[in-house]
């Protein structure tokens, strides 16, 4: 078991270095290789990080949904650890999406924030999964916390399309995303840079998931050992 943990750790380390390398390549490509947007100028370059992070944020909440269903089905704590880790990553990525979007919006829309359909539904999503993290830390019982988390992981994800419809109808007159309108035929450099950045974001997510679930595993193991010790009267007697 220790040997396999060691192998996992070295694989995680390799994955981490690969992620770092590809992220640096993506950064250099976004700054030097991709052409400057004719309409938006330099601000458009943030798109190479904003959009991949948005896609990865949705991916992580989808992983939460799958892990939640699997936990309720199998009752294996392994799935709960994945759900816990993925919620945290999803919230971090969503936060970064909101921040990079604001940085882009200031020069292009001349405002840090607008109640546009996309922005609003992303913010609502952020609140749902922040509530998940709060719920987990406010539920002392471990097994109950896992069940509650799974229920919220499913209930929250069901809400995504409904929230999307409601805010789209609510803000129909707002212009659509400028990036898509302004690029009827994106030059190949743009597409290439985007794909490398997308790869970097997905690798970053996978690497963080490995590290985070490993940490949760160690925590769960530690707690079980402590309980065992307490039962034998060794620790708290």
């Amino acid at each position: 078991m220790i040997a396999s943990a060691g192998r996992n750790a070295s694989l995680s380390a390799k994955l981490g270095w690969a992620t770092l390398a590809i992220t640096v390549v993506a950064l250099l490509m976004a700054i030097f290789y991709a052409p400057t947007d004719r309409v938006q100028g330099i601000a458009q370059r943030i798109y190479y990080f904003h959009v991949p992070m948005a896609i990865v944020a949705y991916l992580s909440f989808f992983v939460v949904l799958v892990a939640s269903v699997m936990y309720l089905w199998t009752r294996d704590m392994k799935w709960d650890r994945r759900a816990r880790a993925s919620v945290e990553l999803g919230v971090v990525f969503t936060t970064l999406v909101l921040i990079t979007g604001s940085i882009w919006g200031k020069p292009i829309w001349n405002t840090w924030w607008t109640w546009d359909a996309r922005l609003t539904s992303t913010l609502v999503l952020w609140f749902i999964y922040v509530a998940y993290i709060m719920l987990r830390s406010y539920t002392p019982d471990v097994e109950r916390g896992a069940r509650f988390g799974a229920v919220l992981g499913i209930i929250g994800f069901i809400d995504v399309p409904i929230v999307h419809f409601s805010v789209t109808w609510w803000r129909t007159l707002h212009p659509g995303p400028v990036v898509l309108q302004a690029s009827p035929a994106a030059p190949p450099q743009t597409t290439e840079t985007f794909l490398v950045a997308m790869l970097a974001a997905v690798l970053f997510y996978i690497w963080l998931m490995r590290v985070r679930t490993g940490l949760e595993e160690a925590r769960d193991e530690n707690r079980e050992l402590e309980q065992e010790l307490a039962l034998r009267g060794g620790l708290y007697a």
Binding site: M134, Y138, F148, D159, V163, V167
Partner: protein, 224 residues
């Protein structure tokens, strides 16, 4: 003829309504709170008649949602505090039936609160309200809020800081109800800014999804 599932729902619902009828705890708290929100909004926004068509629906819905949270939070907290939750869980009840009974009980109290709040809204702010469409919108909204709220109140009752946890869980999930309710009420009250979209379908879809999801998921919340 009513099956055993229907009898289970009726038994729990009758018990809850009898308890509420004798104490009127939830209804009183919700009504006073809803009226307080209306009055607070008047001080906060200086609600003169000419701005009521624009902000009136929002004021009405915030009062309804906030007051509902108070009633919903009591659903399982009271059962836990009085030790009757264990009895309910030991009783030969289908979990879905228990959920639907609690949902119906909350819904009935919320509907009464909504009717009184609507009358107070029309009188206090001198807004002409056509009761039929607005009550239909209010009821459709209440079903969605009660469905999500009943499920989450069972969750929140087992957490530390449960008074905080229920609104934090509930408000983001019911955003579509708030948007749909406010816009549909705006259309019904003749607000020129409100968008005429199929809001009632949105509310009905939300209700159907979350009543079903709650009935299915409830057993996972109440496992002991």
């Amino acid at each position: 003829m009513m099956g055993s599932f229907g009898r289970q729902i009726m038994a729990v619902l009758a018990r809850d309504l009898l308890l509420e009828w004798r104490t009127k705890d939830a209804l009183t708290a919700m009504l006073v709170f809803a009226l307080l929100v209306l009055v607070t909004f008047d001080f906060a926004l200086d609600l003169r008649p000419e701005i009521m068509s624009a902000v009136g629906p929002g004021v009405l819905w915030v009062a309804v949602v906030f007051a509902s949270t108070i009633g919903l939070g009591r659903t399982f907290a009271v059962e836990r505090d009085s030790g009757t939750l264990d009895g309910l869980l030991l009783a030969p009840l289908d979990r879905s039936a228990l959920f639907l009974a609690k949902l119906a009980g909350n819904l009935i109290v919320m509907a009464i609160m909504e009717i009184v709040t609507l009358v107070a809204f029309a009188v206090l702010f001198n807004v002409p309200v056509d009761p039929a469409p607005v009550l239909l919108i209010a009821l459709l909204g209440a079903i969605g809020i009660a469905a999500v709220g009943t499920l989450f109140s069972a969750v929140a009752s087992h957490t530390r800081a449960r008074e905080v946890m229920l609104p934090v869980l509930l408000f983001p999930v019911i955003v579509p109800v708030l948007i749909g309710g406010v816009q549909a009420t705006g259309v019904a009250l003749g607000n020129p800014v409100a968008r005429d979209m199929p809001w009632l379908s949105l509310l009905a879809a939300f209700d159907a999804v979350y009543v079903a999801a709650g009935a299915i998921m409830f057993e996972y919340v109440l496992e002991e």
